[in-house]
């Protein structure tokens, strides 16, 4: 499974992006996007913002779960209180669609973007990123809607990715 994580500001401006792969089931944590897909991911994320805006007022939750899908790319969303959007695009490896169906892969979060386990793993990931995000923006030198360039924050997002996804 490959992941592309982005934080989007209140003016639909990107604040942070990070690509990583699964570390579960012996994954090496590297993203497996093709060069073309990497360009496309940004567009997919951006287009899903429309759907996020539709969904966000329908329930009081911060975690909106899966909001959008583009072929094999699934997008989960988490909203912060100040309407900053965390978007996670996840793409199961194309080979798993061939080998899928065995009991092992059917429960693995890598192969199953729509399963409750995946949903829960992403929830945990978002919760941890949110906690670190709050710390990052509490820095006095950070202004609203500014790009998050903190290397500490990046490392913590990476750690959360390794831990849960």
């Amino acid at each position: 499974m490959s992941y592309y994580f982005a934080i989007i500001g209140t003016q639909d401006n990107p604040l942070f992006e990070y690509e990583f792969g699964t570390s579960k089931q012996g994954g090496d944590g590297m993203a497996r996007f093709t060069e073309q897909a990497r360009q496309l991911n940004q567009f997919i994320i951006h287009s899903s913002l429309d759907i996020v805006e539709e969904v966000q007022w329908t329930n009081g939750q911060m975690y909106l779960k899966l909001v959008d899908r583009f072929f094999t790319s699934y997008i989960s969303c988490f909203l912060t209180a100040s309407n900053i959007k965390f978007l996670l695009l996840h793409q199961p490896p194309s080979s798993s669609t061939l080998t899928g169906g065995t009991s092992r892969t059917s429960t693995s979060i890598a192969a199953n973007p729509t399963s409750p386990q995946t949903e829960e793993a992403i929830r945990n990931f978002f919760a941890e990123v949110y906690e670190n995000y709050v710390k990052a923006i509490m820095s006095p030198f950070y202004r609203t809607n500014m790009e998050i360039r903190s290397p500490v924050f990046r490392a913590r997002v990476a750690a959360a990715g390794r831990k849960y996804l």
Partner: protein, 193 residues
């Protein structure tokens, strides 16, 4: 009983009984905002920012010493500079910031020591701007230097204070160097005849 443990007991007791507490995050955010604003006002001339922070601290220190003496209730002079250091670290910092920096690296003539801060309540959440200069030039907590300088001046000690390392810059410790320049003699007012 050594003066060190006496001082730390005193600091602990005053902290528990006589100090009004304030939310730490309020302090952190307020101080952080002040520093960020000064940086903006002086267009990231960090040398100037350090100077301003030091001056603000100095003005605080001039008055804070009165509060310190009133609360600590030790109307007795420190017998030497080592005792002064103990009182600064274990009573002064304890009652105003609830931290106790470690006193270390004395020079042979007992006129210079370091305060090593294990935690710095002013610097929570802070990450210095990544403009390539702040990491080398800005002393984020420089106000503390000024406070010490101002406070000690009011009790007849002229000192020189500066930070030599800061965890915010990626160093292992936050360390402030304090040097006693001289004891200020009571100066007679100019005669008016």
């Amino acid at each position: 009983m050594s003066s060190a443990s006496k001082a730390s007991r005193l600091g602990e007791e005053i902290w528990k009984t006589r100090i009004e507490k304030v939310n730490a995050e309020l302090v952190v955010l307020t101080y952080g905002t002040i520093v960020a604003q000064i940086c903006k006002d002086f267009e990231n001339d960090y040398a100037e920012v350090n100077k301003q922070l030091d001056r603000m601290g100095y003005n605080i220190g001039l008055r804070l010493i009165e509060d310190y003496l009133a609360k600590s209730n030790t109307m007795r002079r420190c017998s030497n500079f080592r005792e002064t250091a103990e009182m600064i670290a274990k009573v002064g910092f304890k009652i105003f910031l609830n931290v106790t920096p470690t006193i270390t690296n004395w020079t042979g003539d007992n006129k210079q020591f370091s305060l090593v801060f294990d935690e710095n309540p002013l610097a929570d959440f802070v990450e210095l701007p990544d403009d390539g200069r702040a990491q080398d030039q800005l002393w984020f907590s420089n106000i503390l230097c000024g406070v010490l300088r101002g406070a000690l001046e009011m009790v007849q000690m002229q000192v020189e204070t500066h930070f030599i390392s800061d965890v915010l810059r990626g160093h292992d410790t936050t360390e402030m160097r304090v040097t006693l320049v001289r004891y200020i003699d009571d100066e007679l007012p100019p005669e008016d005849d």
